[in-house]
Symmetry: C2
Subunit: 169 residues, 2 copies
Amino acid sequence: MSLSMYRVSVPVFVRGLNVLADLLKKAEAHVEQQGAVPDAILSARLADDMLPLSAQVQRASDTSKLSVERLSGVAAPKFEDNETSFDQLQQRIANTIAYLNTVDAAQFDGSGERVIKLNWGKFQPEFTGEDYLLTFALPNFYFHIATAHGILRNQGVPVGKLDYIGATL
Amino acid sequence: MSLSMYRVSVPVFVRGLNVLADLLKKAEAHVEQQGAVPDAILSARLADDMLPLSAQVQRASDTSKLSVERLSGVAAPKFEDNETSFDQLQQRIANTIAYLNTVDAAQFDGSGERVIKLNWGKFQPEFTGEDYLLTFALPNFYFHIATAHGILRNQGVPVGKLDYIGATL
């Protein structure tokens, strides 16, 4: 048996986005319990030249929906990156999952051989769909989930590896 | 065309470990340039209850080699988690890659259906090999690479997303 391009992308992204939603729910509960302001967490980052938590969520959304768009050809919705609250970020995640769930396995036929070119500043790679998914889209996606988790831990939010791995979903 | 369990694991892990080795090389160069002591970076962490950089490297090694052992049945080497220098961590990574490269695609035959049980404290999941790889092994592996990257950024080491994604390898 082997894995389809669909199996290695859509359900994996949906699962990761659900993990991210759960991490944000726990962060919001922590903020409320502490009587703190949400923005202190949403704008927290690991380094001055890294993106804050809210942008990590936006990039996880983009990485998943743009990857699926590039592989399947099904146009993804555009979002404006204007989320400034936990509720808005949860809505962004929900909208992303809703799009992902509109794409079915048959729409990934031939996606492994599809040529995908990126324009990432100085980095302008050209991949097969298979290499794009395994060496670019998935590492990037997990980067944003793990970095969001790292920001929350760094800020003292009581979440951990079991939350990241989805064992508490 | 579809993806083999081998393709989604061994080359992906080898690539990620090479990225990690590259991040450590850049961290070591930074430490030397700053006239700092390596231990300040190797023992750095994002939260008091998270593992330091050296242990993130050890866990990335373990996640990759244990995943491949569980899926292929090819026994992985045991390491003692006693690395305390950049050189020793590089050696750990090299030894892990050397093991991964001994396993070939044919040894993954049937791995997608293999039943894999884990004993992770309170979390005792039972997976098919396919679900184990996609929902546990890969997210875990990228957790450690991304967290190592986050620690380095948090410590002011001049690395970035292009390094993480392997664009500078």
